[in-house]
């Protein structure tokens, strides 16, 4: 019920939001093969949500310049950078991940989800950041929410809603 009082900020595909307002709820809908990445610093009270779509910006450097959140390799560092600007500290950041679903595709032609997840793990590993929790794969679309005041991350699918 408490979420009713929160101001909802919708994060579209290939976009992000960062906030330190305890009254904010960040939400992104329709995660298919895309990845929703939340970060949250409990001490600074800063949280962010990124909804990226593809692993590598090298496929389209011109588009990447104006739409860094479309790609893992540009969007992920930018999400952390923006959170640092609001006072977050890397040592305290809690990372949660959802998405990377896939079509029923035995040969993996449309393995965008798998490639997106691999890109994320590589970037975080290189930067010594650990994923706290994740809900990835499968054939379902997901909605992901982050409450800035508590850091609570909720995943919603067709079957219901649960805390990650």
């Amino acid at each position: 019920m408490e979420t009713l009082a929160l101001k909802t900020i919708v994060v579209d595909i290939a976009d992000m939001a960062v906030s330190k307002d305890p009254g904010n709820l960040l939400i992104t809908y329709s995660l298919g093969s895309c990845i929703g990445l939340t970060i949250w610093d409990p001490v600074a009270g800063v949280g962010g949500l990124l909804h990226y779509m593809l692993p590598e910006s090298t496929i389209s450097p011109d588009k990447a310049q104006h739409n860094p959140c479309m790609f893992a390799d540009l969007g992920i560092p930018l999400l952390f950078k923006k959170a640092y600007m609001l006072g977050a500290d890397k040592k305290r950041i809690v990372v949660k991940v959802a998405g990377a679903a896939q079509l029923m595709d035995a040969k993996g032609i449309f393995n965008i989800g798998k490639r997106n997840h691999l890109a994320l793990r590589k970037i975080l590993w290189r930067n010594n950041v650990i994923i706290e929790k994740e809900d990835i794969g499968g054939f379902e679309g997901r909605t992901m929410k982050l409450e800035i005041s508590t850091g609570k991350v909720t995943i919603k699918t067709k079957a219901g809603e649960y805390e990650l």
């Binding site: 329709s30 298919g32 093969s33 896939q102 079509l103 029923m104 040969k107 054939f139």
Partner: protein, 288 residues
């Protein structure tokens, strides 16, 4: 269930028929030998359409530096694909913008999905193809491929729990579960809607086979090619999560289609990034 089947047929019969102008333009735009004059002759008698064509052409989406006031210039500038978008948009956008509660689609999501598939299909066309599929026809096929969802939505909502249970307990494609529970799937119903609208049969076939390309038994290479393009475009747009509801990603991708169309990861990513940007700009025009 029987009562619902009758409802489905009734719902289709109750759909407003397409205006004669629209049906005529689809057939003109589907024929590569059509001249601009023939197209102008049809549009200029439809005042509403003329206004829309000029409005879209002069919108920020095209970023023209000067204002276009002549219909002829606007039609040449827009080209078949964009013109088809305007023509079909007049009739279908309102319908596609509606929420589809049974399918778990919020307002605007079915429009976003359908338009994204139309744009993606166009971008997946092999530029070296000697007999290219007419862009207007392909665009219309993409835009209307899921129109059956509008008709089936209520029946799906009424049988939601049964569908949900089958989604958990089986590994079948979503459209097969629709057939098991509702008697029809959205692709079956889509074919019926297009035939009701008196659109070309080949478009109705694309609707019918977009999730089951191997079931098409006809011999028309153009239908086969349209089905391939819409199947690939739909798979891409579903993967990107554009307008995805309770059916999620529960559809099979037919890898033989990737092979014969030389679809690579690089191409998928490239087209995906282009489609998203176009769809976001189009959303702005229609919200103006």
């Amino acid at each position: 269930m029987k009562a619902e089947l009758i409802d489905v047929v009734d719902n289709i019969q109750n759909l407003r028929v397409l205006p004669a102008t629209t049906v005529r333009l689809i057939s003109l735009l589907s024929d590569p030998s059509t001249s601009i004059d023939e197209i102008l002759k049809v549009i200029q008698y439809d005042q509403n359409l003329t206004i829309q064509v000029l409005k879209i052409c002069n919108s920020a989406y095209f970023g023209l530096t000067r204002k276009i006031n002549s219909l002829r210039e606007a039609v040449i500038y827009l080209g078949a694909k964009n013109l088809m978008n305007v023509v079909m948009g007049l009739h279908c956008n309102a319908m596609l913008q509606q929420p589809q509660k049974g399918y778990g689609l919020l307002p605007g999501m079915l429009w976003r999905h359908s338009t994204a598939v139309a744009i993606a299909a166009d971008k997946l066309v092999d530029k070296n193809d000697k007999n290219p599929t007419p862009a207007g026809l392909l665009f219309t096929a993409g835009l209307l491929h899921d129109i059956g969802k509008v008709i089936l939505d209520q029946a799906l909502a009424n049988n939601y729990l049964e569908i949900l249970e089958k989604l958990e307990s089986t590994s079948k494609q979503f459209n097969e579960l629709e057939r098991e529970v509702l008697g029809y799937s959205h692709d079956d119903v889509g074919e019926m809607v297009l035939l009701h609208w008196q659109l070309p049969e080949m478009l109705a076939s694309v609707c019918r086979y977009h999730h089951d390309p191997d079931k098409y038994e006809g011999q028309d290479p153009q239908v086969r090619h349209l089905v391939d393009l819409v199947h690939m475009a739909d798979s891409l747009v579903i993967s990107l999560g554009l307008g995805v509801g309770i059916d999620g990603l529960r559809y099979e991708f037919n890898s033989a289609i990737a092979e014969r169309n030389k679809l690579t990861h690089e191409k998928i990513d490239q087209v995906g990034s282009e489609v998203l940007l176009e769809i976001k700009s189009l959303e702005q025009i229609y919200q103006e």
